[in-house]
């Protein structure tokens, strides 16, 4: 597509991988710092920390809502266009929660409510972590089996890893917490992000022809692939934001970030590593 001026065959590998590697390093430092200070790399939402989320459409102001729920541990009031509000309360005991639901019912009978207890949140958290680990390990195995060469496989796995790490760091910066929805998005990213990596690696390793041409061909196809996915996800984001569908909005926001990060990782990090591997292995060091 014409408005994109990244001439993939022009840059030497070291230049290509520089930016992604720096970003990956910064993100890792950032996430480690978070883990040290808060115990978790990302801020857990109510699904994992416990709490109550309330979805409501009301023209009431944020202050009005805060005042109405004065006796309850209201953590935040998220506002979107279309009068949608998303309130988050801290963990409550059963009696308080009953009182809260009665209070909500009184003024906002059409509000949706989600409550997760602390123990259940802990269970979900450990399961989510397990799911992430298993997914990642499973993906790595598939990649290694498919390509049966060490360095290209490592390049794919590294770029998927980097997708998740950098996306998680961005989530922190933007204040997006880790919920069931965002965990799903991170998992989906594992699946999505390797699509273009696999296209790239297959084309470069298994085809005959000039490296630069193959790289350009893969790039053309890969960019259009990610663009279509981005478009679908962007549509999902816009509609779910307007419609106040929290779980879909969470999923799409993280996917949007992740896919953009993936464009960088695939076409700079992964391509750079592959290019270096292919030129070095043929003895053609420039």
């Amino acid at each position: 597509m014409g408005f994109f001026t990244y001439d993939i065959s022009k840059y030497p590998p070291a230049h290509m991988v520089a930016l992604p590697i720096v970003l990956l390093g910064l993100s890792l430092i950032f996430l480690s710092f978070n883990t040290l200070t808060t115990g978790l790399p990302v801020d857990p939402g109510i699904d994992f920390a416990g709490g109550v989320g309330v979805t409501v459409f009301t023209p009431d102001s944020k202050e009005g809502i805060e005042e109405y729920f004065a006796g309850f541990p209201l953590l935040s009031v998220g506002e979107s266009i279309n009068d949608g509000k998303y309130l988050v309360f801290e963990q409550l005991d059963e009696e308080q929660f009953r009182a809260l639901t009665a209070r909500i019912e009184e003024r906002y009978p059409d509000a949706g409510i989600d409550q997760i207890g602390e123990t259940f949140g802990k269970t979900l958290q450990s399961q989510a972590l397990l799911a992430l680990l298993f997914s990642f390990a499973g993906m790595s195995v598939v990649v290694f089996v498919a390509f049966r060469t060490v360095i290209p496989s490592i390049a794919v796995v590294l770029s998927a890893f980097s997708d998740i790490v950098i996306t998680a760091a961005f989530m922190n910066v933007l204040g997006i917490s880790l919920t069931l929805g965002t965990t799903a998005a991170l998992l989906m990213l594992i699946g999505y992000s390797v699509d273009s990596d696999i296209l790239l690696t297959s084309k470069l390793l298994k085809r005959k022809g000039k490296l630069d041409e193959k790289l350009e061909g893969a790039f053309r196809t890969g960019v259009i692939m990610t663009t279509t996915t981005l478009t679908a996800v962007a549509a999902m984001f816009v509609v779910s934001s307007i419609g106040q569908i929290i779980i879909i909005r969470d999923i799409s926001v993280v996917l949007l970030i992740g896919l953009v990060v993936d464009l960088m990782n695939t076409w700079m990090l992964n391509s750079g590593l592959l290019k270096w591997y292919l030129t070095a292995s043929k003895g053609g060091v420039k």
Binding site: T228, I245, I248
Partner: protein, 485 residues
């Protein structure tokens, strides 16, 4: 489109299969059974967040412990029960269910004192207890008159049930909370003459209820229960006053739950004799022989507990979506799907500018979604997360169609059939690898019980499989036939 092109398109089995599956899906969503009154979603099973309703998930203040001891297992269990002041049941030879909440450390200490060790500790209940709890809850839900309820137990891989989830379509959150909170009113009355009865005692006089057991040496099932002192006194007085000890058959004891008779039987001769002498605190109500007797006994146990659960529960999570909000989510989801599809259409048109490519592409994508929905109708409830999965499938679907298109039309030209076949297989190779990673990445979620994400994972996996095996290869055939016209 000429006849020969049509024939070429439909000569491929995948194209034929895709067409059949689309038809089958549409039929199963809208026609079998007929569902025009249900709007666009037809026969699809919708989750609570789209349909409206309340859910509540309960955890247990109890744990299942795998243990090791040199002592006899049942006496070890009894000993432990005394030490912990809790009901301790032997689940099988080396597992105990402790019906009170203790941390692993506390239990380890108690086990050691009793001469055993804790091998594995898991919070939850055994499967049979979970089934009991499930039945009690279903009973209560029925009595609340809720029309569409589901009670599911969620078990780990070890077979220990960790949670129980109740979904009440169309109910509000207060109703869901009542299912757990409220207890029924249990009463024992005694037959005076004819149909007339007199009050003997209420459920609060019952201090404990045991699980169904057989009378030693017989096949007769029954449920034991214990009365407190006042209850035992009231029971004896009633039996003496109304002459039940002398003529048991004419003065049956009647048990009622919320004023409905749940059990009725005369005093046994033995019990009548004992009551003549003193009060009796330990009673047993026999229910009959064989499987039927056991079933009755289980029901009676529930009734004696007056809907109280054998294990203390806590609310792990709950939620509520009002019908109007569910309807709004539904509209928005459909809108999101349509807009995503249109937007993707615009992007691929911008790239290829050839309706003969873009239309089959979008068509294939729609077919994929329709087949996915048609299959999901039978196996998976669609909730909001599952819808995100569908839109994700739409995204990957287009991705892979782009791979096929670019691969087949490499360097712009339309290849000869041989070359086409070679390139097509190459494209399929890439797609299969890419799809395997997505399936593998989603598999843990589909197998685990991360509540709302299971549907998402299942839908995504299903969509990817349909795409890789049927629709995307079919697309390859279609564009080839169309372009080489």
């Amino acid at each position: 489109m000429s006849n020969s092109t049509l024939r070429a398109v439909f000569s491929d089995w995948r194209v034929v299969l895709m067409t059949i599956l689309v038809a089958f899906s549409l039929i199963s969503i809208y026609f079998v059974p007929l569902s025009f009154n249900q709007g666009v979603t037809g026969n699809l099973q919708l989750g609570l967040d789209l349909e409206g309703g309340a859910w509540i998930q309960l955890g247990f203040n109890s744990e299942v412990v795998r243990f090791d001891t040199d002592r006899d297992a049942s006496s070890f269990a009894a000993d432990l029960g005394g030490r912990l002041d809790a009901e301790v049941l032997l689940v099988d030879e080396d597992r105990l269910e402790i019906r009170k909440y203790y941390t692993q450390e506390e239990l380890e200490a108690a086990f050691e004192e009793a001469g055993g060790t804790v091998v594995a500790y898991e919070r939850g209940v055994s499967e049979s207890t979970a089934d009991d709890i499930k039945r009690i809850l279903e009973d209560k839900i029925n009595s609340l008159g809720t029309r569409d309820a589901k009670v599911n137990t969620l078990s780990g891989m070890s077979g220990v049930t960790k949670y129980i989830r109740i979904e009440l379509a169309g109910a509000d959150i207060a109703t869901a909370q009542d299912v757990v909170g409220q207890q029924g009113k249990f009463e024992i009355r005694i037959q005076t003459s004819g149909n007339a009865t007199e009050h003997v005692l209420f459920g609060d006089a019952i201090t404990s209820v045991s699980t169904p057991s057989r009378e030693p040496g017989s096949n007769l099932w029954g449920v034991g229960f214990t009365l407190n002192d006042e209850g035992a006194q009231a029971f004896r007085n009633a039996a003496l006053t109304y002459g039940a000890v002398d003529n048991p058959e004419a003065h049956e004891l009647v048990m009622l739950l919320d004023d409905n008779i749940v059990y009725s039987a005369p005093l046994s001769p033995n019990l009548a004799g004992d009551l003549r002498v003193s009060t009796v605190r330990s009673l047993s109500a026999s229910t009959g022989v064989g499987d039927e007797g056991l079933k009755e006994a289980k029901n009676l146990e529930i009734h004696l507990r007056a809907g109280a659960l054998p294990v203390d529960v806590f609310i792990a999570g709950s939620g509520y979506v009002p019908a109007a909000l569910g309807e709004h989510f539904k509209t928005m989801s459909i809108l999101a799907g349509i807009i995503a599809l249109l937007a993707v259409g615009v992007v691929v048109y911008y790239r290829y500018r050839e309706p003969l490519i873009v239309l089959p592409m979008i068509g294939t994508n729609i077919a994929e979604i329709v087949i996915l929905l048609g299959i999901a109708r039978f196996i998976q409830q669609l909730d909001l997360a599952a819808i995100a999965g569908i839109i994700a499938v739409l995204g990957t679907g287009i991705d892979q169609l782009v791979i096929i298109t670019d691969e087949v039309l490499y360097e712009g030209g339309i290849p000869s059939p041989n070359l086409y076949q070679k390139r097509f297989l190459r494209a399929l190779g890439i797609i299969v690898v890419a799809a395997s990673t997505t399936v593998i990445a989603m598999l843990p979620l589909a197998l685990m019980d991360l509540s709302s994400l299971r549907g998402f994972a299942i839908v995504t996996i299903l969509g990817v499989l349909i795409g890789v095996f049927i629709t995307r290869p079919a697309y390859g055939k279609v564009i080839m036939a169309l372009l080489s016209r």
